[in-house]
Amino acid sequence: MNEVCFKNIDKENPASLATYEAHGGYKVWRKILNGEMTPDEIIAELKTSGLRGRGGAGFPTGLKWSFMPRNQEGQKYVVCNSDEGEPGTCHDRDILRYNPHSVIEGMAIAGFVMNASVGYNYIRGEFMEPYYRFEEGLKDAYEAGLLGKNLKGGSVSFDLYTHLGAGAYICGEETALLESLEGKKGQPRFKPPFPANVGLYGKPTTINNTETFASVPEILSRGGQWFADLGVENSGGTKCFSVTGNVKKPANFEVPMGTPFSKLLELAGGLKEGRKLKAVIPGGSSTPILTADTAMQMTMDYDSIANAGSMLGAGSVIVMDDTTCMVKTLTRLAHFYYDESCGQCTPCREGTGWLYRMLQRILDGNGKKEDLDLLLSVGEKIMGNTICALGDAAATPVESFIKHFREEFEYYIEHGRSMVEVEHNLIEEVASV
């Protein structure tokens, strides 16, 4: 556990430059500055490592970096997406708090590979402490001559800037993030063109997630094969999971890919006494919910979770026990997407509000029988028709919640109250007898 991104977490002053360097930090970057590594070698190593984008889409990082037009004339950019906003996720925050230099080094390496001399780290607006920690890290790195222009008198330059967002979930979408970074309203751009060709200020731009960048130095330091071997096939290395919900010890855990879910649950202290596992959202609120049985059989890696019918996503594991009302939970999620839709394109702007209003009406006891099919049909009409993935993210939970817990919704519509409360009251009654 805690072998890559959180490897210094139990050391004294884990975020400091001294601690980072004492444990092998900036070794790779110094090698690069000494001219001992080429971009092609780095890309090859990343490909071997099997590192996949940790932001949620899981695109192989080595492949992504190899697509960049590194020899194209003009300015290019590296952007780190630290706008960690997916409900249930908080591990990037801890990386920034406890290991900021790994992100700095990772971004600098990316800059070298992409031939980009400027980087931006876009940090979520609410992350004040991580922001200051990262800024402090930057200051130290500059002072140590690790960042700046013509480093070590050579040809490599890398300037890194921090940008604090303003609290919009949509700015975690990479093109909306770029718009926001440019000072515009955070709204996704349509694609093509992709950021690799037309990104920040219209220039080729590589965008990766915090955890992805943080993993890069360690991979290059210890070898791609070492990293790949930590995990399982198709899912190399370790992954940080935020385990939240009805567990005794909600926390972040960096574990090897392929770790059984049951093990992760155990690490988080398991369920509270007397509770039964009801459902798990494995990858953040945008990924389909899984029932207890399915979840208990899966391992935490891309393929296994996909086989179970969901996605690894951002590694945000939301655990629900048998006291959870699915109608209420889904309504809360729908409200989130309704509130966070940027409003740019029609299906999401209008559809998220429609979904939320219907669910709220059901929750208020005014549901109609045909509402469930209508919810599914609205979700289906949003799905795939929007500019960015927020529309899909809003529709996915609706589809999966109703698929797995339809009878609970039907009960609510029929009785105007939750089936769970009834069950639970019964349990409590029995217990008190």
Partner: protein, 746 residues
């Protein structure tokens, strides 16, 4: 660009690599529904209505933003495409108020049209609908933002075409509101186009509100006549009155846009001061009479007062039609007078104050440099300014020499503040600089001209440009040195190899010039007619209070008992009643057939959209009958097209460029440049209510530099010639730039 083959709905098509699917479909006549896409605006891909199915691509893709690639097989109407399109339609309708019966857009609404095909007849939406409060954006555009479907066409039009970022989407999600960032209203000379681009009834014409339903109106193709462009329009009339004007596509003239002036001026036609009946003044009393009597009175008056034919002066505004100019000058010349002029507001009319343009409208947008002289093109010639703006967006640079720094909607490089009296020296300095740079022999008279760095820089830019243009604007009319300035500009253009865009004469001035509505050597020009011995005048569409360079001089003369004035006019108010002896009510814009000749020299004919009110008659008919009564030969025309045919055969009276006469300024050190605000330039716009109430219509300031104000002992908000003083650093010293709708005073 390489040619590729694609397939749309089974049709094999060749297209350019990278063309969007929607442009190919449009070209081939394949219908793809859309709301946010507009051919003249950037692609937004936000409405999602144009989703189509591309084989091998899992999700439906927007046709507007997806570039065609070789071998692509696209389906616009299969189940997958239809499902996506109908889904979007349903989403668009859930929050749209179905208030079509009381919506002005009803009947010409894109949402309504597309809903007929893609919408369902039953709504599944059982929740409350969204309501959006209206902030109001001024006198011209009515907002009903509850109807807005957030396509952002208006936002993009503002940012990309009008050059104003005043509308935008605030808020997010369902709460996104398209609204101005400020509440002072949209300040653009092109704002009305937002109405045309709005696919729904969110933005509609304010003066038109609830006036008529679109299907009740009679649409006629016409041409706008307030500027040199001759924008193509449709007039839409109901029960004999023009109720609305909208743009008509013509890529080489006005593309798809028209100025607010062309769009909203029609209100002037329905003004209460319309002249409806012929009238004669007998013993100081106005009497309504029939046409026969009025014409007889007019003819007799002219014959009696103008004892010799050359005592008759014939004057017209710059807004008459080609036919009217032609017949009027023919009448005058047949009668025996050469006193013919339409340049009423020129400070100097010595021979030579005319110069041809050497560039076309569409060529302007591809220049790499423009030098703008004496012009606020943005307000004076909005559509030409739009072409300059396009050039700037493509990388052209612009320098300006004006009395005031104007708020152009593009970036300018050097804005040289130059008072009217300093313009000629400035141009001579530029010319000298050009001579020195091109190593041409410096003419003697330039050797003593003072040089300056700024002028040198401007000369540099002219030389460096490969495809530059010098834009000469209408402020030059008020400059007594205009004739010699024009010849200097012509030399500058020649030596720097620049084109010329001459915008000094606006309206339908090209028609007037074409048919020779100016005096030959034997005749008097507009200025001399007022000071010399004319005893009778024929005025056509002239408002003496506004139209002359020195209105007081004109009014005083026309008021004299021994001066007989026949006024062919569409409007009668105090100034007409004071100055005229006979009023012959004339049809105004859109009420008569005619021809406009535009900047490119294109003669655009139009038919009458509505009948003129009351007993008023088309100008060309009045002139023809007068000619008959005067027993003049050659007026046997049956309709106006015969007149146009003959008029177009006439060869333009050539005026030689002759800059040898240097006119001196009057002794005063400080000059006044009186420029009518854009909605006060002619009889019709001055009476258009909504235009007057708009932000631009309210322009009324005498701009003075601090030092000049001191010399004149004026302070902020004092009145200068009746106009409130605005002290500004953006004005050249020793001049006052009066920008107002008030009648000119000297």
């Amino acid at each position: 660009m390489s040619e590729i083959e694609i397939e749309i709905d089974g049709q094999l098509l060749s297209a350019n690599q990278g063309d969007s699917i929607i442009t190919i479909a449009d070209r081939e006549g394949i219908e793809v529904p859309r709301f946010c896409y507009h051919k003249k605006l950037s692609v937004a891909a936000n409405c999602r209505m144009c989703l189509v199915d591309i084989e091998g691509v899992p999700k439906a893709q927007p046709a507007c933003s997806t570039p065609a690639a070789s071998g692509m097989k696209i389906h616009t109407k299969n189940d997958k495409a239809k499902f996506a399109q109908k889904a979007v339609m349903e989403f668009l309708l859930i929050n749209h108020p179905l208030d079509c019966p009381i919506c002005d857009q009803g009947g010409e609404c894109e949402l309504q049209d597309v809903a007929m095909e893609y919408g369902s007849d039953v709504s599944k939406f059982n929740e409350g609908k969204r309501i959006v409060p209206d902030k109001g954006i001024g006198a011209l555009i009515q907002t009903d933002m509850t109807r807005c479907i957030h396509c952002t066409r208006c936002v993009r039009f503002g940012a990309e075409v009008a050059g104003i970022v005043e509308m935008g989407g605030t808020g997010r999600g369902e709460g996104v509101k398209i609204e101005p960032f400020l509440t002072e209203g949209i300040q653009s000379e092109l704002s009305g186009n937002m109405i045309d681009v709005c696919p729904v009834g969110a933005l509609t014409s304010k003066p038109f509100r609830y006036e008529a339903r679109t299907w009740q109106m009679n649409a006629v193709q016409s041409v706008a006549r307030h500027d040199l462009v001759g924008s193509n329009i449709f007039t839409q009339s109901y029960r004999g009155k023009v109720k609305r004007v909208v743009a008509r596509d013509n890529d080489s003239v006005n593309e798809t846009w028209i100025s607010d002036r062309d769009r909203f001026s029609y209100e002037g036609l329905n003004h209460e001061s319309r002249s409806l009946k012929p009238k004669v003044k007998k013993n100081g009393e106005w009497l309504e009479v029939d046409w026969q009597e009025a014409l007889a009175f007019a003819i007799e008056g002219i014959k009696n007062n103008a004892e010799r034919p050359e005592q008759l002066g014939v004057l017209a505004s710059k807004n008459a039609s080609l036919e009217e100019y032609y017949l009027m000058q023919k009448l005058a010349r047949s009668f025996g007078t050469e006193n013919i002029d339409f340049r009423l507001d020129h400070a100097n009319l010595s021979p030579g104050s005319s110069m041809d343009s050497s560039i076309t409208l569409s060529e302007i947008e591809s220049v790499d440099h423009a030098l703008i002289l004496s012009s606020y093109t943005r307000l004076e010639q909005p559509m030409i300014n739009h072409r300059i703006r396009k050039a700037v967006i493509n990388g052209a640079t612009v320098n300006t020499i004006n009395s005031k720094k104007f708020d152009f909607n593009f970036k300018t490089k050097i804005d040289l503040l130059t008072a009217p009296q300093a313009l000629l020296p400035a141009l001579q300095s530029i010319l000298k600089s050009l001579y020195l740079k091109t190593k041409a022999d410096l003419p003697e008279q330039l050797s003593k001209v003072n040089s300056s760095d700024e002028h040198d820089k401007i000369a540099n830019d002219l030389i460096a440009s490969e495809n530059g243009v010098i834009v000469l604007g209408e402020h030059l009319k008020s400059n007594p040195s205009n004739s010699v300035i024009i010849s200097t500009v012509s030399q500058i253009a020649q030596i720097s190899n620049s084109k010329i865009a001459n915008l000094t004469l606006s309206g339908n001035a090209h028609s007037a010039e074409k048919v020779g509505f100016i005096p030959t050597n034997q005749g008097m020009n507009a200025a001399s007619m007022l000071t010399e011995s004319c005893k009778a005048f024929l005025l056509m569409d002239v408002d003496s209070q506004y139209d002359f360079f020195n209105p007081k001089l004109a009014m005083d003369l026309f008021n004299k008992d021994d001066v007989f004035v026949v006024s062919l006019t569409s409007f009668e108010d105090q100034s007409t009643l004071l100055s005229a002896d006979v009023i012959l009510p004339m049809a105004s814009f859109y009420e008569t057939s005619g021809t406009h000749i535009n900047f490119d020299g294109i003669a655009q004919s139009f038919s009458a959209s509505v009948k003129s009110p009351g007993d008023s008659k088309p100008g060309w008919k009045i002139i023809k009958v007068m000619a008959d009564l005067l027993e003049l030969e050659g007026f046997s025309f049956v309709d106006s097209s015969q007149v146009a045919e003959e008029a177009l055969l006439s060869s333009k009276v050539q005026t030689q460029i002759n800059g040898s006469i240097a006119e001196s300024f009057e002794d005063s050190d400080i000059t006044t440049l009186w420029q009518y605000a854009p909605y006060a330039i002619d009889n019709v716009t001055r009476r258009a209510k909504a235009l007057q109430e708009s932000n631009i219509g309210k322009i009324n300031s005498a701009y003075i530099a601090k030092s000049t104000a001191k010399k004149l002992s004026l302070s902020q908000d004092d009145l200068y010639l009746g106009v409130p003083v605005s002290i500004s650093d953006d004005v050249a010293e020793d001049c006052v730039f009066v920008h107002t709708s008030q009648a000119r005073r000297v």
